[in-house]
Symmetry: C6
Subunit: 75 residues, 6 copies
């Protein structure tokens, strides 16, 4: 049995891994938020509470996971 440390991302989960891939590939994504905002950018990092999105001017937005509705890679 494997327990997860409080400080560690569960990197075995598909959702966590796909976000890691999107970060590495610097893919443009869109995020739909509970306020109905749709924000666009490239993912920079993720942790248990937040993900960070860089806009076209390379300015960061720290988004709380609880506020995310969906994420869509752009094609």
């Amino acid at each position: 049995m494997v327990e997860t440390m409080a400080n560690e991302l569960e990197t075995g989960l598909p959702s966590i891994r796909q976000i890691q891939t999107l970060i590495r590939e610097e893919r443009e994504i869109e995020l739909k938020l509970v306020t109905d905002d749709l924000i666009v950018g490239k993912l920079r990092w993720q942790d248990q509470h937040c993900i960070c999105l860089m806009d076209q001017y390379d300015q960061p937005t720290i988004v709380w996971r609880q506020a995310i509705v969906y994420l869509k890679p752009k094609f």
Copy 2:
């Protein structure tokens, strides 16, 4: 007594199993979200945090479970 590992889906639960069946059968479903959006597609995978829906162009949308209101298989 059975404890669940941090990384594992509770596959004994009806909701988890029914989603697994919908994935395997590639059934079209609709998802109602907290933003009142209704999105349609086929389920690709699920984990503890998210489920992934493929649209008609086979593009993925990663939906956070916390944002789901209901799921309806289409007939």
Copy 3:
């Protein structure tokens, strides 16, 4: 001291037991959801994450508990 297994519904709780009764009696209920939708049907099953409602055409809707505001048996 009694611990609950990860996979088990806490059947000692009034809310869980009343839903079990409503399932067994196939009572019509209405569910108010966070999106302000009001859906009507008969309960089919419940687990920790979801409850399943059958509409008048016997089609299922899987509703996430987090999205439920209230439940009202119909009279």
Copy 4:
């Protein structure tokens, strides 16, 4: 050190105790919900997930705690 059993209400907490008092006294209350609904009635029971409100026709509404914004005793 005292741990709480999974099935037990934390009756030492003011919020739980005040609701118990309101149930016992059959006081009329109003509940504001996240959908902005305001419902009025008398409390019948509470558990960890829900509280039950009886309307003027003595019909129950099972309200999920997650959907409650505030509770106000009526005077």
Copy 5:
């Protein structure tokens, strides 16, 4: 290592302590809620689930923490 008892407020946290101070000082505050309501009053007590606000007629409103957006002391 210190674990917190189920029944105890984490009084070491700034947010908990500042609310204790506001209770003791009977300071007027405003609370913004998820329904966009702004309510005004004096804090009476807090526990893990709720905080209690007294209005100008000394009537209590029990507010669920999950529904609070922000708190502002009035000056």
Copy 6:
């Protein structure tokens, strides 16, 4: 294996550390909230439940984390 004490911020997480940096640097930020409010100010402190923002008159607003959608440093 490292467990986190109930009372302690997980200072290893990027989101926690970046907020600590913003506090130390007294940077102006904007916070988008679930009510769609956008508030502006300087961060003063954070704990597990809340973050505190000082407005231009040096008055505090205690914001619950659950109500935060995103945070953006201002440039």
